[in-house]
Symmetry: C2
Subunit: 339 residues, 2 copies
DNA sequence: TTGAAAGCGTTACCAC
DNA sequence: GTGGTAACGCTTTCAA
C-alpha cells in the first residue's frame, strides 16, 4: 500500500505538499499538483484510516443528536445503537451530545438544534419533524459548514447530506405481500390501525399498502382508524371497528401501542382466524407473536439507525468521504420461529 | 479518554512498562503491576484502536482463507465480502490468501491449509468439511499459535476460536413456520428436496424441519429426495416425486440448483397451488420469487460470512480481544416485495 | 508556493 | 525490571 511519504519521495516534494493536493487545500503550483495526482492515481493511493483517525483526535470533534423523547420502546433499540457508537467514538476524542425533545413540536426541535450549535457541534444527526422550520434550520447549518444527516424519517427538501432509515412505502408493500400469502380464505377484509394521520412514515406505509392492495381483486380495505400511539385508544377504536365490521378477517397495525388493539381482538374470540401483521420488534409485539396472536412483524433495523448516522458523520469529518445520500435499512420479516 | 501515557505518569513509570502489564508480557515487578492495573481500572482505560492498528502495520499480518470452489452462486456473495475486507485490511499492511478446494474432499482442504501455513499465515478462516482430518489439522494449528475461525459450517469439536454462520436448525424451523402460515388448505403434504445427505448443514435443516412439523397434526412429510446441487438431477427427482405423489402441495428446497426442480413443478401445472420455499438469494431464486413460483426464501447473510471472520481474526491478532465463540448470522425472510 | 517538525496512541527494540 | 526512543500514516502549524 502506497503512503503519502512514498508519493512525496516519488514526486520530489514534501509530505505536506502531497497532503495539500490530496485534500484540495490549495496553494500548490499547478505543475506540482498534476504530478502528485498522477502518481497517486498510478499507485492507486488510498488513505490509511488509522492514521487519519489518530491525527483527527486533536480536533476534539463534537456531534449532536436530536430525537423524540417518546416512551415508544422502538426507540430503545435506537438508543442502544447511539450508546454503542458513543462509546466507540469517545476513544477517538469525539464527543456526542444527545437532545431529546418531549413533544411533537417544531419549536422544541429547533431550540434543541440551537443549543447544540451553541455547544460547538461540528455535525448533526436528527430524527426530524416533517416541518418547514426544521428544514430551514438544517439549511442554515449547512451554510455554517455544519452537515446534517436525517435518520428514521427523512426531509428530502432540506440540504441534509444523507438519510438513514426505512423505505416506508416498500415496507407497507411488504406487509401487503405477506398478508396475501397468509390469506387462507381467498378473500381479505382488512382493517388498518395507524398511529396518527400527521406522522408521515405511518401514512406513507398505509398509502403504499392501499395502492398495492387495490390491484388485488380479492382484497378489500374496510376501514382505517388511528390509535395515537396509545394503548387505551387502540383498544377502543379496534373494539368499535370489529363490532361495526364483522367481516374483517385481517388487521394491519402500522404503529406502536398495539397491545390494547390485540386485546380487543382476543375478547371477540376472532383472533384465531384473524391475520394480524404489525411493525417493529418491541417486547409486547414479541409476546403477541409467541402467543400466535400476531402472525408477523416487519422491522427496520433500529440499532443501525442509531449507529450509522454518527459513524457516517465521523467518517465525513475525518476522512472527508461523502456518504451515500439514501441509506435504506433492511426490511426484516420476523415470525414466531426467527424472532 | 485515558491513554497509556497518562497511566504511565500517574504510576510513575514509563509507557513501556504500562504496555508490558496491560498486554501481559511479564517481566514486571508485582507491586508495579498491581499499581498500574489499579490505575487502569480506575480510569476505565480502553485501548485506542487507531493507535493499535497503526502500530500493528509493522507486523505484515497474513490471513489464510480456505473454502469450496463450487460454482454455487451462493458463494459469490461470500466472495464479495472477502474482497471487500481484503481491500480494507490491505490498507493496514495485512495480506489475505484465499485457497479454494475443487472437490468435497478432505485431503484437498488439508493440503490447502498446509500450503497456507507454508506461506506464513498468522490465522485461518475456513468453511470446513465435516471430517476428522480437518478437525485434527485445526487443533494442530492452534498448538502452533495459529488461531482458526470456522464459517458457513462449524466444527464444534475442533479448537477453532469462533464460528460465523447460520443456525441451521433454526433456519429449518423458520421454513416450517412459514409454510404453516402459507397453508391455504389446512393440510400440508410436503416433499423435501435436499442437496446431499453428506452435507451437514442441509441435513440439520431437514432434521429440524421434520421434528418441528411432527408436532403439527395437519402436516405430513411425504418424501425426501436429493439433487446433489445439480439442476438436471433436480428436475429428474422432483418430476419423479410429483408423479408418484399427486397429493404433494408443498415443496421445501434446502440447497442450491432448484431451477430444474421448479421447472418440473411448472410443467405439471401444479405450481399455482404449490407452496414452495427455498434457501438463499441467488439470481435464479430471485427470478422464481418474482414470477410467483417460489413464495419465500430464507437467507443467512452470506456477505457477513465473508467479512466477519477475517475482521474478527484481524482484531484478535492486533488488539488481542477474544471473539465471541458462536456468531449466528440473521435468518432473513425474503418474499416478492422485500427481495 | 513549499518544507520541516511535532503530535495523535500504541508497540517493539535496545540499553541499562 | 525498567526506561527511552523510533516507528506506523496522517494533519497541522510555523517558518522560509
Amino acid at each position: 500500500m502506497p503512503t503519502i511519504k512514498e508519493i512525496a519521495v516519488l514526486a520530489g516534494v514534501s509530505r505536506g505538499t502531497v497532503d495539500r493536493v490530496l485534500n484540495k487545500r490549495g496553494g500548490v503550483h499547478p505543475d506540482t499538483q498534476a504530478r502528485i495526482l498522477e502518481i497517486a492515481k498510478a499507485l492507486d493511493y488510498r488513505p490509511n484510516k488509522a492514521g487519519i483517525v489518530l491525527s483527527a483526535q486533536r480536533k476534539n470533534l463534537k456531534l449532536g443528536v436530536v430525537m423524540f423523547g417518546t416512551n415508544n420502546p422502538f426507540f430503545d433499540d435506537v438508543k442502544e445503537g447511539l450508546n454503542d457508537i458513543e462509546s466507540e467514538l469517545s476513544c477517538y476524542n469525539c464527543d456526542i451530545f444527545i437532545k431529546t425533545t418531549p413533544s411533537f413540536n417544531e419549536k422544541d426541535q429547533i431550540d434543541a438544534i440551537d443549543d447544540l450549535v451553541e455547544m460547538g457541534i461540528n455535525a448533526l444527526a436528527i430524527a426530524p419533524q416533517n416541518q418547514e422550520g426544521v428544514v430551514r434550520k438544517i439549511d442554515e447549518l449547512r451554510e455554517k459548514g455544519i452537515p446534517t444527516i436525517t435518520f428514521n424519517s427523512d426531509l428530502p427538501s432540506s440540504s441534509r447530506i444523507a438519510y438513514v432509515g426505512s423505505n416506508y412505502r416498500k415496507s407497507g408493500e411488504t406487509v401487503a405481500g405477506l398478508m396475501k400469502l397468509f390469506d387462507h380464505k381467498g378473500h381479505l377484509e382488512i382493517g388498518i390501525v395507524g398511529g396518527a394521520p400527521s406522522v408521515l412514515c405511518h401514512t406513507e406505509r398505509i398509502e403504499a399498502f392501499k395502492e398495492y392492495m387495490e390491484k388485488t381483486p380479492s382484497v378489500n380495505i374496510v376501514d382505517t382508524v388511528w390509535n395515537n400511539d396509545d394503548d387505551v385508544t387502540c383498544y377502543t377504536v379496534v373494539n368499535k371497528m370489529l363490532s361495526e365490521h364483522p367481516e374483517i378477517n385481517a388487521l394491519y397495525f402500522t404503529a406502536g401501542a398495539i397491545e390494547g388493539g390485540c386485546r380487543a381482538v382476543m375478547e371477540t374470540g376472532r383472533h384465531k382466524d384473524m391475520i394480524i401483521v404489525a411493525h417493529d420488534k418491541v417486547p409486547s409485539t414479541v409476546d403477541l407473536i409467541k402467543n400466535d396472536v400476531i402472525k408477523a412483524t416487519v422491522c427496520q433495523q433500529p440499532y443501525v439507525q442509531g449507529t450509522k448516522p454518527l459513524q457516517m458523520l465521523f467518517d465525513y469529518l475525518t476522512t472527508g468521504e461523502t456518504p451515500q445520500e439514501i441509506n435504506y435499512t433492511d426490511i426484516e420479516i420476523y415470525i414466531k420461529e426467527n424472532i
